[in-house]
Amino acid sequence: MTGNMRNILLFVIVFALIGAVGFLQSWNVALVILNMGLISALMALGVNMQWGYAGLFNIGIMGFVALGGLATVLTSMPPVTEAWAAGGLRVLVALAVGAGTIALAVRAWHRVSRRRGLVVSTIVVVGFIIYRWLFDPAVEAIEAVNPAATGYLGGLGLPVVLAWPVGGLLAAGAAWIIGKTALGLRSDYLAIATLGIAEIIIAVMKNEDWLDRGVKNVVGLPRPVPYEVDLQQDPEFVARALELGLDPATASSLYVKLSYGIMFAVVLVIVLLMAELSLRSPWGRMMRAIRDNEVAAEAMGKDVTRRHLEIFILGSAVCGIAGAMMTTLDGQLTPGTYNPLRYTFLIWLMVIVGGSGNNWGAILGGFLVWFLWVEVEPMGRWLIEVLTAGMSPDSALRAHLVESAAHMRLMTMGVLLLLVLRFSPRGLIPEK
């Protein structure tokens, strides 16, 4: 019971910190932190499934998060009919040929016994030539359609909330491919493989303009909540705001952020519930047994690789959902901003600080680390300014230090990771 009290207290402290931001800075900032905190907690939950339940070291989270973002564009943006007419079908056929080539090559590798290398390389070369012959003109045609505004195929024009499960599916599909090849290898190899695939996913999203406009970004994604401007023009809303003593502009922005927060919280609660139930089920016990002693579990007849594949797909899917939610919140997809320090290693820090193997720990870590990530920068700037107050205001060193203060957060996060790993390796809320 005392352990439970301690955990509740930890959560109270974290929310009090966010509340303090509300009182001291502004409620808008506090809600921004809370919303991204909810998303971060979901990502940490996904990573915790992989690492905490099964001991899989996945450092390609960024890739799955980005796939979720891509899903948002593909689901919610209206289709660009001219682009589809120009070469949509041809691109799809080309992609099918590409996928077919790989599948055929893999099959040949397993089936053909004589001159295997020659057969497989012939399949790959021929398939690649056909693929490029189909693909290149189609892409050129699509990207030529009004390049300043579209130049891509667009999406399906479905409600944006549908993008969240789609993001999960997309990430799960990618995880299946990676898991099939890299699971069962040593843990370091899985790490490198996931790191690599994440970079590739980002590279594809940056360069395949026909898919998502690449670094030109897709802006103006549909929103699941009303726009602030519309709220401010709604007389009923304005009256309600004035009743609460808020000016309509602030009230509308708070309303929008709160609506997002409630939607994210619902998703988080559902995923948490499912994660907790599965952890306590026989399946969850088997998972932990495998993690603690793979050889013994295998001797008991458990299919270790298969279980690993399952949990890898599930955890990645959760990251994909979180990624789709994040892109929805941003209202735009900016492939150039995905950075492994922020989207992979920071999530890892959340899991380790919170407590690997414990879902509540992962959530706590998500909120706490996100709070620090946001607040360390102003704190660092303040600290530098105090420390350099004695220097002359036009000193070059001082200017450099103040300018560099933004990079303090990386250092702080690294120090936090090392401290937790050394002195409290089980995290703030340890596994039961």
Partner: protein, 336 residues
């Protein structure tokens, strides 16, 4: 048909850059493989170690340039490189004391050390951005070319030119010297032999009176030297940007794994395999093919297999294929 011009074009655009890049990757992969062999974990901070050593070199180079000292036709950075190696070695040894030694003593699982190296990576990344900033720095000076395309054309009378940059020459020469020295050290000296013994069988090495702390210290010093040299050579050849160095982690690890983690010879081979694959797959072959096929049959497209933005994909694909077909790498590496 113009075979000579085709060969020169191939040399100019594929072989020369490939050799230089391969040398840089090989040096980086040697550092990774060495730490893996001795300390038995994948050091994710290696890319940032390279960046750190390069940063120190750049700062010292700027100081020398300000003082008006230069190395004539060679880049000034070569003068400051040894000092930077010492600084980086001191930093790595301090990191080992503060971070890694504890886990070594408690015999923690390798994955714990990997996570610790992620923490170190964060801190180093922050320190580098704090000191020199996240932007791009160019610090190559001295003369630029050993031979320019124009000189080559005038010399041979061919249509294609062959240009070799000073930095490319330095890269290859320095890489050969460093690798030769490293292998001499590992195979001929007492300390080197004790390191190989330790990597091979820790318990047996301890029983025969090898001091593990000494082995680990030497390994870190060597890793610092290799990382700094690789980083400076890469920076001279291309340019220095902290994030690029972080991204170099992928091809470097791919090289080390493709060659067989823990095997120095494999790291070198892996470096060249990865470098040449990246260059050949992302090179537009139009020119070379244009010289080789009869007139009128020149290809209309660029004949580029993948755009250069996908070079990560190349190292990754090779990595996956090698892991599937030969899980211990081309040269038998350690498996732990």
């Amino acid at each position: 048909m113009d075979v000579l011009n085709a060969i020169v074009a191939l040399l100019n655009y594929v072989v020369v850059p490939g050799v230089a890049y391969g040398s840089q990757l090989a040096l980086g992969a040697l550092g990774v493989t060495l730490i893996f062999g001795i300390l038995r974990f994948s050091n994710f901070a290696h890319g940032d170690t390279m960046a750190f050593g390069t940063m120190v070199t750049i700062l010292l180079t700027w100081a020398l340039q300000a003082a008006g000292i230069s190395a004539g036709p060679l880049p000034t950075a070569l003068l400051t490189l040894p000092v930077a190696i010492v600084v980086t070695a001191v930093v790595l040894l301090a990191t080992d004391r503060v971070v890694y030694r504890f886990y070594r003593r408690t015999r923690a699982a390798p994955i714990t050390l990997v996570i610790a190296s992620l923490g170190v990576m964060f801190i180093m990344n922050g320190v580098i951005r704090f000191i020199i900033g996240p932007g791009e720095q160019n610090f190559a000076d001295g003369s630029r070319f050993i031979i320019t395309a124009r000189q080559f054309k005038a010399m041979t009378g061919l249509r294609e030119g062959l240009a070799i940059k000073v930095t490319q020459g330095i890269t290859v020469v320095l890489a050969i010297v460093v690798v030769a020295a490293l292998f001499w050290f590992l195979n001929r000296t007492r300390t080197g032999k004790s390191m190989r013994a330790y990597a091979d069988n820790e318990d047996l090495a301890l029983l025969s009176g090898i001091n593990p702390e000494r082995v680990v210290t030497v390994a870190w010093v060597l890793a610092a030297a290799l990382a700094t040299i690789a980083g400076v050579l890469y920076g001279l050849d291309k340019s220095f940007k902290p994030f690029t160095y972080f991204q170099l982690l992928l091809p470097i690890f791919a090289s080390a794994i493709v060659g067989g983690l823990g095997n120095p010879l494999g790291a070198i081979a892996g470096g060249f395999v990865i470098a040449f694959s990246e260059v050949t797959v992302t090179y537009a072959w139009k020119k070379v093919v244009g010289y080789l096929v009869p007139e009128g049959l020149e290809p209309s497209g660029l004949l580029q297999l993948l755009s250069t933005d996908y070079k990560f994909a190349v190292s990754f694909a090779i990595l996956v294929v090698v892991l599937l077909v030969r899980p211990t790498g081309l040269f038998r590496g350690q498996s732990s």
